[in-house]
Symmetry: C2
Subunit: 212 residues, 2 copies
């Protein structure tokens, strides 16, 4: 059995964050498929793992961890990769992970879900417009931050990059001209895409295409 | 001059989190008013403090910190109050702070803003419905978690409680029958309201009522 077990599904940007980290680090890990589109995250068994009813969940040596930011923090400790150095850098990394959860992922992921995967009745154009406006504001802030920088914090790739990169390889699922609108962001994304071991979320996690 | 300077405004649930912590700890602090409703958070001076264009920002001994979760973490270290004990508890506290940012505050604050403070043209009922649905889902998860518990993590109040409590004292600004819908949540809120030194956000931070 693999050392790490990650409850995930292919379309989840939040699950991709630790899945990509495990893969880039060459960890012994296996995905456990959560059939989100058929409500598996609401089953009593799943809620016993994570009362927040979300993926990802990581199981490791009897520990059960949820929230991608917590799992990234744990994996950085365990694997020794992508960790910040010192207290100031730790807080700067945490700042970007919190911002990602609050502003970047929260809006991008919900926008993408409604526009691509939701039942027709849920695809309200006003709601999609609202979310896309907020997502683009967040993308603009990150793009500006990345001007003249290689990574989000300091001179090395950290878990802050992995957190903010969660949804960005699903790029065809947003009506955005990425290169024209967010050039620094795109250059940063390509630096991650060429890392040894990088895989697209649809290759790395089970459930693509969505089971009937 | 006070030891801590917190850039904030009365209506900000995110600023209230560290403001309440500073007050409960009896710290030497002063609020610095950010005139959000007249766009002060978008000024070049403010963006030089926080490129994310958000409140709160904490200034302390030459450090400039943003994101309420980072500031709470910093204050817990500095002041010795409300800090988690050990690595497992630290991650459990971080889990709830991340969830608060992603699911609870993100939806509650945006819903409250649109319903109470936004210009008429922005108050789209479909968007408000969407956000309130997601906010109520989050409130339900927290209410369930608090069943049989005194505090969110462990046996003591921690920064996880301060984070999740950020917006909840603006209770009259939501069309929710709190006691009927979220009884465990309300009992927990009242435990915070009776703490020595507790103040309502409109008393603790400047800018209420909104300047013309």
């Amino acid at each position: 059995m693999a050392e790490y077990r990650l409850h995930c599904f292919a379309q989840s940007d939040n699950a991709y964050k630790p899945a990509l980290m495990l893969e880039l680090c060459g960890a012994s890990w296996e995905p456990v498929f959560v059939d989100f589109f058929h409500g598996a995250h609401k089953s009593p068994e799943y809620l016993a793992l994570n009362e927040m009813s979300e993926v990802p969940v990581l199981e490791h040596q009897g520990k059960v961890l949820s929230q991608s930011g917590v799992i990234l923090d744990y994996l950085a400790d365990q694997l020794g990769w992508f960790a910040p150095t010192g207290e100031d850098e730790r807080r700067e990394v945490l700042r970007w992970i919190l911002w990602d959860n609050h502003k970047l992922t929260a809006n991008c992921a919900t926008w993408r879900f409604l526009a691509n995967f939701a039942p027709e009745a849920m695809r309200n154009p006003d709601v999609i417009d609202f979310l896309s406006g907020r997502a683009k504001m967040a993308l603009g802030i990150l793009d500006k931050h990345l001007e003249g920088r290689t990574w989000i914090v300091g001179a090395r790739m950290t878990v802050a990059d992995l957190s903010c990169a969660g949804y960005m390889f699903y790029e065809n699922e947003y009506p955005i001209d990425w290169g024209a609108e967010y050039p620094n962001f795109v250059a940063w994304r390509e630096r991650i895409r060429v890392l040894p071991g990088w895989k697209h979320p649809y290759e790395l996690m089970p459930g693509h295409p969505i089971p009937a």
